[in-house]
């Protein structure tokens, strides 16, 4: 039946087919259906749709779904900007911190010199300045990576040195 129905009837019909009408309203609507072949036909079709959709089951959920959610949460926390920044700036012995700070400073200076050869080229328009600031953020991030690498490397090296000293 393709004849347009009134919105109220459509709502009633959909709710009726879904079994969501209270007994009294359902009974009244069935009274209407009994005398209205057009609505009866649509109700039958809507029931068929409802049954068809009932048959569509979703597949089982992977057993490790929760674990994967938690892993993503942990990964995000581990690699967040602030986490990395605070890890890099975590207090460390002066003997280790000084060479790392010097290395970071050198890297930053080298990066800035390479990106800002102001003494060679004339001043750039504003758009360029915006781009340069983006590059600086990347440089800081890259420096943090380097710091992290150096930090991981330093204890191993110390241990290695200690080991060779012992030998």
């Amino acid at each position: 039946m393709n004849r347009p129905m009134e919105s109220r009837n459509q709502e009633m019909l959909v709710t009726y087919t879904a079994g969501e009408l209270d007994v009294e309203t359902a009974s009244a609507f069935e009274g209407h259906l009994a005398g209205c072949p057009a609505c009866r036909s649509v109700a039958a079709e809507q029931s068929a749709v409802w049954n068809a959709l009932n048959a569509w089951e979703a597949p089982a959920i992977s057993p490790d779904f929760n674990r994967r959610v938690y892993r993503r949460i942990e990964n995000e926390a581990r690699f967040s900007w602030w986490e990395r920044l605070t890890r890099a700036l975590r207090p460390m012995p002066l003997r280790q911190a000084l060479p790392l700070a010097a290395a970071a400073g050198l890297l930053l200076m080298a990066g800035l010199l390479l990106r800002h050869p102001n003494n060679i080229t004339p001043a750039q328009p504003r758009a360029e300045t915006v781009r340069a600031e983006t590059v600086r953020a990347e440089q800081v991030e890259s420096t943090l990576d380097d710091l992290e690498l150096l930090r991981q490397f330093t204890p191993a090296s110390s241990a290695e040195n200690g080991h060779s000293d012992a030998m």
Partner: protein
Amino acid sequence: MGVAAAALDYDAELMLRVKDGDGASFGMLLEKHRAAVIHFVYRLVQEQPVAEELAQEVFLRVYRSRSSYEPTAKFTTWLFRIATHLALNWLRDEKHERGQERLDDGSPDLPARQVLDRRPSAEQDLMHRAKLDEIRQAVAALPEKQRAAVLMHKYEEMDYSQIAKVLGCSASATKSLLFRAYTTLRAGLAHLGNI
């Protein structure tokens, strides 16, 4: 909905505990709603691995937003709004790449299955699969919002006003979406009868 109203929504209470740093409450929300979210997204995108990836992203976003969470709406409204947003975005991205290709993939598989499946009930099984393919295609052919509305109405048993809040439209617009969707589905699926 203020804090008083949130007291009626246990999920919102749990989320407020998550906001206060209670990880166990997040676990409870995940356990309680993961099936609904995965199944809803699955029926929207119709690919289980993608549905699970997107559902993970939904819960990741819930967790990520914990500090700014305010119970201004029912928790499930917020949850399904995130899920719908992610799934519809994924569909839009995929649409450009694959178009209707995926929809057409189902039918050519059937003869192959017919040859391979030699169980006594193979014919019935095939007919059932063909009907399910038809249902999936009919739902997939609906416009995005109509599809989301039907899935929330049929499988999540949401009322019109909640569906409207999830989709960000008025209740009357939502009813109109649903009725148009059901009219289309009646035209495409009524012949299936009881499957």
